[in-house]
Symmetry: C2
Subunit: 358 residues, 2 copies
């Protein structure tokens, strides 16, 4: 039987609850498919801050790097909100992404027929939405230098950041995006602000250069302000979207809210080699932490992405995805996706129901 | 009788059509209120490029600066899309904003009861939305230096921009935003990415400092990714939003699409002193240009903002706003806001109907 080492990073808020449920689901799917997992659980984010004084302890990064895949719950909470930058939970997450060199963030936003009414969009607009945002994750304004605080030529205080992309950074995310689009409906929309920003003009130039390697993929370009509108107007027009770190942060969250069920949405962050990082796109929801109310399905589906994209275990991945659909079909819902006529369950019970279908 | 000089910048695409209609409406409202206008019409954007080789001729900027208010149609079109940066219509618009020093861009997004079904959002989510985005317009990554193309330390090509804000830039937009919120429902939400960007941390620090001058306004802070979600989830939670240039570009377009009728939405760009710049938020719509299909109401409402914010002519402004509502109540609709049971009209006829109600 095959063996893989998985690093579990429960993190903060509802993180530990959803990770514990997802771990059970992973285990069952694995044992059926003849896969064996070794787990190592290490702290990150606020949990790591409280324990060790830093949001990403060296041991955590090392454990993650030496494993085959990393599953993260969520990070952050009111408690650490006022911390200085290097002591923010978020900084731990950014350092983890940087340390694992996971430059490609895949964020599907799918409206399941079972949950179409959860969207704030009209049924005919939301129905059938199935898009994938490919977000560049380790470059751009998140990491660009110079950055910081200073004074300008008039002696006034300033705060500043640098949006910067180099050829190889754009080329490699472009290839991931074209490959992704190829496996989907073959349509890729690159989002930028090339009518204003040089960083975007350069982005567009490289995307067009890499496009020559993928003549079978239909490429289009859209300005980010228009993309933010089009996601509301007609999200079905999109198949695969590729964009930079900050635009991807904004648009993928907007796209996920369009599905109406961000408690359902997983994500995968991948590098050239080495372990991928898999996490639900929702936050740590400190207001419901520890109350067994969280929706574990986004983390369970992240575990499925881990199996598929991280370990190449397609069968186990499909088993989990099917089990989630089955559980929804049976009518089980956590509070965030509950509607009249369905069965309200907590985080643990949802996990147990999924287990029954794995 | 009072006299004002107005610079008209028809621009490109549907710009000339909507400006000509708005001018007639302005004239009638003015003559009833005993105001006299002198107009000067000058080229900008693609129209200026074709005529003079640059997107903002010196004469155009000078004319605008020497007038009391500027009314712009729209700029841009496929024809100039591949132009180099300094020869893009957009560059003309950015230079105009910079030249007029209009740092405060006010973009209302209102769902009129008559048009609630035009939104892709469910009726109960869209109904009653009435928010104002106050966008910083002459700073941030749009204008920050250094910017351009170059090579990094590994000899790789790069494209880069600088997001930068100085104390006075944030303080002055903050004051406009607090004043705006005070005249509305007294709630201001400042949007940033202070969990990652130093420019945003500094933004938040200054917003909080200026907040001390406005104890009667309720201030909150939101990360931009969350704001993009919340606009879809529950746009009614917002009253006034203040944010930087690029986030404002994205969020104001998203907010406008949430109303479902961007053909209805005006904007005002104001400086410390000197003429304001007023324009519909929609684009130049080259696909319907010259076909008498454009919705002139956004430009007519921009003319009303010009009267109110630009010239202090509140009565004439109210007269125009009331005439627009009256025309909608009578059932007249251009194609973009048409629904069964209403009367489809073209750009000119819509203008004539508004004139009847002024
Ligand atoms: C927590 C924050 C640093 C992070 C980001 O901005 O990337 C989050 O919003 C996300 O999208 O994963
Ligand atoms: C045309 C473009 C330069 C402009 C901007 O980005 O500011 C437009 O999108 C707007 O919002 O007015």
């Amino acid at each position: 039987s095959k063996r893989h080492t998985i690093t579990l990073l429960p993190g903060d808020g509802i993180g530990p609850e959803v990770i514990s449920v997802a771990r059970n689901v992973l285990n069952l799917a694995a044992s059926i498919e003849g896969i064996e997992f070794k787990y190592q659980e290490v702290p990150v984010g606020g949990a790591a801050l409280d324990l060790t004084g830093v949001p990403l302890p060296e041991e955590t990064l090392l454990a993650a790097k030496q494993s085959d895949a990393v599953l993260l719950g969520a990070i952050g909470g009111y408690k650490w909100d006022k911390n200085e930058k290097h002591l923010k939970p978020e900084t731990g997450l950014l350092k983890l992404r940087e340390g694992l060199k996971v430059f490609a963030n895949l964020r599907p936003a799918t409206v399941l027929p079972q949950l179409v009414d959860a969207s704030t969009l009209k049924r005919e607009v939301a129905e059938g939405v199935d898009l994938m945002v490919v977000r560049e994750l380790t470059g751009g304004i998140y990491f660009g230098k110079p950055r910081g605080f200073g004074t300008n030529e008039n002696g006034e205080e300033i705060g500043f950041n640098t949006e910067v992309y180099a050829t190889y950074e754009i080329d490699r995310i472009a290839r991931v995006a074209f490959e992704t689009a190829r496996k989907r409906k073959g349509k890729l929309c690159s989002v930028d602000k090339a009518n204003v920003l040089e960083a975007s003009m350069f982005w567009r130039k490289r995307i067009m250069a890499i496009a020559l390697e993928y003549p079978d993929v239909e490429l289009s370009h859209m300005y980010v302000d228009n993309a933010a509108m089009q996601l509301v107007r007609d999200p079905k027009q999109f198949d695969t979207i590729v964009t930079n770190n900050i635009f991807g942060d904004i648009l993928s969250d907007e796209a996920s809210m369009i599905t109406g069920s961000i408690g359902m949405l997983p994500s995968a962050s991948l590098g050239e080699s080495g372990p991928g990082l898999f996490e639900p796109i929702h936050g740590s929801a400190p207001d419901i932490a520890g109350q067994d109310k969280a929706n574990p399905l986004a983390t369970i589906l992240s575990a499925a992405m881990l199996l598929k994209y991280g370990l190449g275990e397609e069968n186990a991945a499909k088993r989990i995805e099917a089990a989630v659909l089955d559980t929804l079909n049976k009518g089980f819902r956590t509070g965030d996706i509950y509607s009249a006529g369905t069965k309200l369950v907590g985080c643990k019970e949802m996990g147990e129901e999924v287990l029954k279908s794995v």
